[in-house]
């Protein structure tokens, strides 16, 4: 028998009323936790994916769409741009690095991206097995893709378009030559290959339809060989297209640009937009815009969670206050048995703290569980993979919640219990 047991016995005794405000508190905390986890992970992921990409050059259209399609690989591209035009900007003195991207095919919903090994370096990708691509039709797959079933040395075919159900390039199978370690970035969901592979498939595709001969195909092969070989030496020019003998009619989807100096941010995007048929979009700006759009709904949900928590606090308060009406006798009896005023206050406070702490912990647990469930149910190939198994520093203030809610809820009943007139209470007046 001690204060804790005296308090807990009463909590147990009023299961129904107590579980109601426990539920309210739990739901409020769960929603806030889930929101915190989701918004942190989404914005963290968006920032990480766009990190080091100062500007994207692509075809005219919506700048947000350009960023979504080429940086986050979520939307469809705005179109293609001529390689020689892109190249002109890649060699601009204000550009430190330009990574070309060529999109168009997928397999099992994972995008096949024609690019240079610079993209792997950019996201600090490390090979888990195999090697980087050297020949056309060799592919390196991200960790998520590997998890979805593709293995080293396994052949696979690309499907035209960025979703399932397109034309299958059955006669041009790729071969997995490398698997990357998880990077926690968009790289995990991509299948990387050389630009030439993408060109080859679509050129051949064209040839088939035009009933053309196979010579052009063959030429492509030689040329690819040179280009990828040069890359392999490490002293690659910023653009593989700069290699001698490149075909000016070729197109890519976009260029990911890293500025040489911050000053470029002022001039370069405007130059691209005004002096060419291309479009420049700045990920930082578009990401901020996107988060702002999403932020509105996050804020709404946050307000809702706040209302829930206030309601829960109020219900805890009302429940405790109501319980006091009947509890007054019990507490007065304890006083008559020798308990001091301080004890009685402590008993009420402990009750309120135990209830709100339980609500908070359950809420945190539920929130994490919910996010983990959403993360597992959601298609990892097309979105941000959410995890409920991480703890954030931002969750710490939530742990203070029971102290505040419990104390506030216990305050008035405790004050009443402290002031109560024993004789009047016990005689049932």
């Amino acid at each position: 028998m001690n204060l804790m047991r005296l308090s807990l016995a009463d909590v147990r005794h009023r299961k129904l009323a107590n579980s109601l405000h426990l539920l309210l508190l739990t739901l409020g905390v769960a929603i806030i936790t889930a929101l915190l986890l989701i918004s942190t992970q989404i914005s963290g992921r968006l920032e990480r994916d766009a990190d080091g990409i100062d500007m994207v050059i692509g075809a005219k259209g919506s700048p947000l769409q350009l960023i979504l399609s080429t940086v986050y690989h979520l939307d469809i591209p705005t179109g293609n741009i001529p390689l020689d035009e892109a190249n002109r900007w890649a060699h601009n003195p204000m550009v430190a690095q330009a990574i070309p991207l060529s999109l168009g095919d997928n397999t099992k919903g994972f995008r096949i991206v024609g690019t240079t090994p610079d993209l792997v370096q950019h996201y600090h990708g490390q090979l888990q097995g195999g090697r980087l691509w050297q020949q056309p039709m060799e592919a390196v797959i991200g960790a998520e893709v590997a998890k979805a079933g593709l293995k080293l040395d396994q052949p696979f075919v690309g499907v035209h378009g960025l979703g399932a159900g397109g034309h299958v390039h059955a006669d041009h199978p790729y071969k997995v030559v490398g698997v990357l370690q998880p990077t926690g970035s968009v790289l995990d969901r991509l299948i990387l290959t050389s630009l030439d592979s993408v060109w080859e498939i679509h050129a051949a595709h064209q040839h088939h339809h035009d009933a053309d001969d196979h010579d052009g195909d063959h030429d492509d092969h030689d040329e690819d060989h040179d280009a990828s070989h040069a890359e392999g030496q490490g002293a690659a020019p910023p653009m593989p297209g700069a290699a001698p003998g490149y075909d000016p009619s070729k197109e890519i989807t976009a260029l990911l640009i890293h500025y040489r100096s911050p000053l470029a941010a002022i001039a370069l995007p405007r130059m691209v937009n005004s002096q060419s048929m291309l479009q420049a979009a700045v990920p930082a700006f578009e990401t901020a815009r996107l988060l702002q759009l999403l932020g509105l709904s996050f804020d709404t949900l946050r307000a809702l969670a706040g209302v829930l928590i206030v309601t829960a606090a109020l219900s805890a308060f009302v429940a405790l206050y109501n319980a006091m009406e009947t509890r007054q006798y019990d507490l007065a009896v304890l006083r008559s048995l020798g308990a001091s005023r301080g004890w009685v206050v402590a008993i009420l406070w402990i009750q309120a703290l135990v209830l709100s702490a339980a609500g908070t912990l359950l809420g945190l647990l539920l929130g994490h569980l919910a996010v983990e469930t959403i993360g597992r149910l959601a298609n990892t190939a097309r979105g941000v993979d959410l995890s409920g198994l991480v703890l954030l520093w931002e969750e710490l203030p939530i742990l203070l919640l029971p102290l505040v809610v419990g104390t506030v809820a216990a305050l008035i009943p405790a004050w009443r219990a402290y002031r109560t007139d024993l004789a009047t209470t016990l005689s049932g007046a």
């Binding site: 028998m1 001690n2 005794h13 009896v333 008559s336 020798g338 001091s340 004789a423």
Partner: protein
């Protein structure tokens, strides 16, 4: 042992009430008689230190209750005064045994479940030790509240209308039990009652109705 002398009390807004003096020696038993509302409960509350008198003195054992307050008074009451309330006031969330150990705990005494069980055994309800108050009959609950009043071996036992809710046989039984337990503790027993059936069970009587 119990000495209430020249005590005047006042409830919130009502005028002062003058209470009769009471003087009882150790081991003496006394009935406090009179119709409802004549001040019996008030006198008991004063004797228990639950109600602070405006003037006069209340001595229990060698302590003047008017000279101590707060925690000291609560502690003194817990250790030396056993109270059987009219409404029993068993704590519904605790078992019968826990109600008794809570009394030990609140009085700041070591928790002794064996002693608590012994007290229940003396009142013949040891088999109800792990039941909750709501699971007991009125008579059993009455015994439980007496057991709680005596578990700390008080020097003063106060009972407020302990027989009013009971039938004839049980009323006399409870009265006997109170007297027995008071004798076992050599405690002063003061019973407030308007129950005519109990009138002649105890020799010493104070009639508040006649006094006022």
């Amino acid at each position: 042992m119990l000495a209430i002398d020249a005590v005047e009390v006042r409830y919130a807004a009502s005028p002062k009430i003058k209470l009769p003096s009471v003087k009882l020696a150790a081991g003496e038993h006394c009935l406090l008689l009179g119709p409802s509302g004549c001040g019996k409960t008030t006198l008991l509350h004063v004797a228990a230190g639950l109600l602070k008198p405006e003037s006069g003195s209340v001595r229990v054992a060698d302590t003047d209750l008017t000279s101590i307050a707060g925690t000291a008074l609560d502690r003194f009451r817990g250790r030396n005064i056993g109270i059987v309330f009219q409404r029993l006031h068993l704590i519904p969330s605790l078992t019968i045994l826990q109600n008794l150990t809570a009394a030990q705990y609140c009085a700041g005494l070591p928790i002794d479940p064996a002693a608590a069980r012994a007290a229940l055994a003396r009142l013949g309800i040891e088999n109800k030790a792990d039941r909750f108050p709501a699971q007991l009959s009125q008579g059993q609950a009455q015994r439980a509240s007496i057991a709680r009043a005596i578990v700390n071996g008080p020097q003063l036992i106060l009972a407020d209308e302990p027989t009013s809710a009971l039938d004839d046989a049980n009323a006399m039984l409870v009265l006997d039990l109170l007297v027995q337990q008071a004798q076992a503790c050599n405690a002063v027993l003061l019973i407030a009652t308007h129950d005519a059936r109990t009138k002649y069970a105890i020799d010493l009587r104070i009639d508040l109705g006649a006094a006022s």
